[in-house]
């Protein structure tokens, strides 16, 4: 392969690195009205009265909109396939406010100053209710967070608003209770994960204006332009054809931008005033009023026979979706569907639980999407079980984990929000990942611990993980290729490059098929007027789903080139081939260059535009796998954990661009390390997020990460474009369990609640 597996820089690299104006705020119309949101100071209240008169009279204020001024149509902000598996429980503005930060009024004015002043002058009277702040007490709480009758799910998701339940799910294969009786060893533990914040560095931003045809144009920092178009149309009850959504470059997403956030507010202003408008969230707003990861609780019971065969997995969960049920069911199900198949030889498995509403920051999509929560619980419990069996945890996993060519009934039973698809795992090098990782971390030598000094111990721990590659039978990506007169191609895709380099990867795939340099493929991505549909960048889908679409479009283009070339050469199609430069006679001397053919096709002979298109929906979602190994040093005087080494060995199929695949894993690992060790979420007793800035919410700095070693094992996924699977999420999944296991191995303290802070370690050490 020439173009695929090339470590080329991203097409947009220099532009991004050198600070070209490419993000939403850089490109918003200069005369945009500044839009800001008046947000609720209460966790749960009803607006009794809003007086905007004084604020409206401030010089420079263009409009102030309250729930009385905008359509009240229940939608979900979750940017998912349609019909969405998230309940329609959100309104552009509502008379209820359901968390501290919920939207009360939209203010638009000529500059920041007048808008800030107006925000202070709006008088709101609230009827304050008792908020639901503890997710373990949410079900059946006397406060009902969504009492309104319009809120509804699109289909059966186990929704029961009267009981504060956004979704519920249950499945069982075999009989857990019966099989547990036959087990020699059983462990049962409870685990908690926190509401991690995404902290994509470009804050959520959106701008809107009316174009010369009177259509609404939205420029937005989104992972899902086509979903944004659909949701905005629905929320405002305007035709989809009257909306255009443009995605410029995105300053990181990680799931936090798989939703509408600022878009409805600028749209409301532009629709009202006819003027351009823009909103740029403050960092505090991003923390308080966009998305976080769903905090979850899992009760895990595992049973095994004494020879180390895992027989039973029982996972009972509770998830906190916050004030709105965005991604509620799907993140919850993924906690099972992207962990349980790893141990596919059990006799009984159960996964069940509920997702509840609370009066807290809404949870949404976040890299890992439930899998990281489930992985922390399951992979911690596996170590507990191995210890009870007196087995090396690596050996226990090797004995029980999934292998290439095998399947799991989970694939069919648990999809995302509905049934999944049957599939055999065609590529799975988990065993190689494990072996290689053990070598790199020097497991044999280091497991379980080494005493470094009287107060310092080093331990190693591991976890294995899987993810998916797009959502099978749901996620669709499409691509269009167009030949230019110089023999270059425009590649138009709906896929959304968030900074990952997916534009470059898709160009590499097209270039490989056409046998041209990637530099000859000019990519334009994600503009609902100009590019074909794509669900967007989520669920680790772009390389696999959009990549397959691009591959097919390129194959079609190659056929078209051969057909037109043959015509030009006066030969039968079967007698010619195309090598990237020339269309040539297979057994002869006739040839025409692509450039010449392209030029005559446009200007002189047999004139036409060569254009090809293709769509792709995965019939399967081949999982990437990895093994993660942590080596930590724990100070028993202070409880401080120093991460010494983290080894990640990954099977993501063929790496289309090894540099970009590697950085996906490295970036994912560091976010996972942050979730494990630093990123603590705290609320005040009345429900205000206290960790709402980077001073109080600590993300890893370059000194916190230790030595990170990423390696890819050789693997080939037959259904993937040139053997590729996804790689965007898999890196984040293992650090919580691997580090928790390493800490346990170092000092014998088992932390079951994330993040693992020095205080928790010290408290547990003292208990010992």
């Amino acid at each position: 392969m020439k173009e695929v597996t090339r470590k080329i820089p991203k097409k947009d690299a220099l532009g991004l690195l050198l600070g070209k104006p490419v993000y939403t705020d850089d490109l918003a119309p200069k005369n945009s009205l500044i839009v800001k949101i008046l947000r609720s100071p209460h966790a749960f209240a009803k607006i009794k009265n809003i007086d905007t008169l004084e604020a409206t009279n401030i010089e420079g204020i263009e409009c102030i909109l309250t729930y009385k001024d905008v359509p009240r149509i229940p939608v979900t902000r979750a940017g998912q396939g349609y019909p969405e598996p998230s309940p329609h429980d959100w309104y552009i503005l509502d008379e209820y406010v359901r968390y501290v930060g919920d939207e009360v009024a939209i203010v638009a004015g000529k500059d920041e100053k007048c808008v800030d002043e107006a925000l202070k002058k709006i008088k709101v009277e609230y009827e304050v209710f008792e908020p639901v702040l503890d997710f373990e007490k949410a079900e059946g709480h006397s406060s009902v967070i969504h009492p309104e009758k319009e809120t509804h799910p699109m289909f059966e998701i186990g929704f029961d608003a009267q009981k504060n339940i956004a979704a519920s799910y249950e499945m069982e294969i075999g009989s857990v209770e019966e099989e547990l009786k036959k087990c020699d060893v059983v462990v049962s533990e409870r685990f908690y994960t926190q509401a991690q914040a995404h902290v994509a560095f470009e804050p959520h931003s959106a701008a809107s204006y009316i174009d010369m045809q009177g259509r609404l144009v939205i420029l937005t920092s989104t992972q899902v332009p086509f979903h944004v178009r659909r949701i905005i149309a629905e929320a405002f009850d305007i035709p989809i054809k009257n909306i255009r959504v443009i995605k410029p470059r995105i300053g990181g997403g990680f799931g936090g931008k798989q939703a509408v956030h600022g878009e409805p507010f600028v749209a409301a202003v532009t629709l009202k005033t006819g003027k351009p408008a823009k909103i740029v969230y403050t960092r505090q707003e991003v923390f308080e009023a966009t998305y976080s990861r769903h905090p979850m609780r899992y009760d895990i019971t595992l049973g095994a026979t004494k020879d180390g065969k895992l027989k039973v997995i029982d996972m009972q969960g509770l998830s906190d979706t916050g004030a709105y049920g965005e991604h509620a069911l799907t993140t919850f199900m993924v906690a099972g569907s992207k962990t349980l198949p790893m141990y596919n030889k059990v006799d009984a498995v159960r996964f069940k639980g509920k997702v509840v509403y609370t009066n807290k920051v809404p949870a949404g999509a976040y890299r890992g999407y439930g899998a990281i929560q489930g992985n922390f619980a399951l992979e911690s419990a596996i170590d507990l079980l191995a210890e009870k069996l007196g087995m090396d945890p690596a050996e226990f996993r090797r004995k029980n984990m999934i292998r290439e060519g095998e399947t799991s009934p989970i694939f069919k039973i648990m999809g995302e929000g509905r049934e999944g698809v049957d599939m055999v795992v065609r590529s799975c090098k988990l065993n190689e990942c494990l072996e290689e990782g053990m070598k790199l971390i020097n497991w044999k030598e280091k497991f379980p611990r080494k005493k470094i000094s009287e107060t310092k111990y080093r331990g190693v721990g591991l976890a294995i993980a899987m993810q998916g590659s797009g959502i099978a039978n749901i996620d669709m990506g499409a691509a269009v290729l167009k030949l230019n007169d110089d023999g270059s191609f425009n590649l138009l895709v709906g896929a959304t490059d968030l900074g990952t380099g997916s534009d470059t990867i898709l160009a590499q795939i097209a270039a490989e098929v056409l046998n041209v340099p990637t530099e000859d493929i000019i990519v334009y991505s994600s503009d609902t007027d100009l590019t074909p549909f794509d669900v967007g960048a989520y669920a680790s889908s772009t390389t696999y789903v959009s990549g397959n679409a691009v591959k097919r479009a390129a194959e079609k283009m190659k056929k078209l080139i051969i057909k037109e070339g043959a015509l030009k050469l006066g030969l039968d199609e079967s007698k010619v081939d195309f090598d990237g430069k020339y269309i040539y006679e297979i057994n002869g001397n006739k040839k025409v260059s692509l450039k010449e053919l392209a030029t005559v096709l446009l200007y002189t002979e047999n004139q036409k535009q060569l254009i090809s298109d293709a769509s792709y929906v995965g019939e399967e979602s081949p999982p990437p796998f990895m093994a993660g190994f942590a080596e930590v040093e724990v100070d028993i005087e202070t409880g401080k954990v120093k991460l010494i080494n983290y080894v990640a060995v990954v099977d993501c199929g063929v790496t289309i661009n090894p540099n970009l695949a590697r950085i996906q894993v490295e970036g994912g690992l560091v976010q996972g390390i942050g979730m494990t060790l630093f990123e603590d979420v705290k609320y005040s007793p009345n429900g205000k997020l206290l960790t709402n800035n980077l001073m109080h919410y600590k993300i890893p700095s370059r000194l916190d990460i230790g030595n990170i070693i990423v390696k890819f094992v050789e693997s080939y996924e037959p259904t993937g474009p040139f053997g590729a699977k996804s790689v965007a999420e898999i890196g984040i999944d293992t650090p919580p369990a691997a580090i928790a296991n390493a800490i346990y191995n170092a000092v014998g303290v088992r932390i079951k609640t994330l993040p693992i802070t020095p205080e928790k370690i010290l408290m547990n050490l003292n208990k010992k």
Binding site: L18, G19, D25, F201, E202, G499, N693, S701, R702
Partner: protein, 148 residues
Amino acid sequence: MKINVTINNEKKELEIAPDDILLDVLRRYGYHSVRRGCDTGMCGICTVLLDGKPVPSCSIFAARVDGHEITTVEGLPEAKELAKILAEEGADQCGFCSPGLIVNTVYLKKLKIKKIEEVKIKLIGNLCRCTGYVGQHRAIEKFLGVEK
């Protein structure tokens, strides 16, 4: 009020309000490489050089730079070289943090800092959420000629 500033070697007269923040003024005048990543002076994304020394432009009043010299990534000739190395290492992702990082790293080159541990300490204020830093370090080591 008006201030006189040299930005990227060009003399400018800027119209500002007394409480304007340097970051906002620079963006208003089209220096889009300067970006806001936080509201608490914690991310380093807004870093520019003030009289040749790195400062967070989000934490400085524009009025204070009257008569001084500001350099952004657009005005740093060495930026291109580092950008190229970062790109070749695949160490760039969303790019939002990159100009601030580049400004700070080019400054380290002038200080002739060559120990990677020292480099990391000096760059600790430049946060990045995408790359996991490892790729950045590979590139920065090359750029600074770090001794191994």
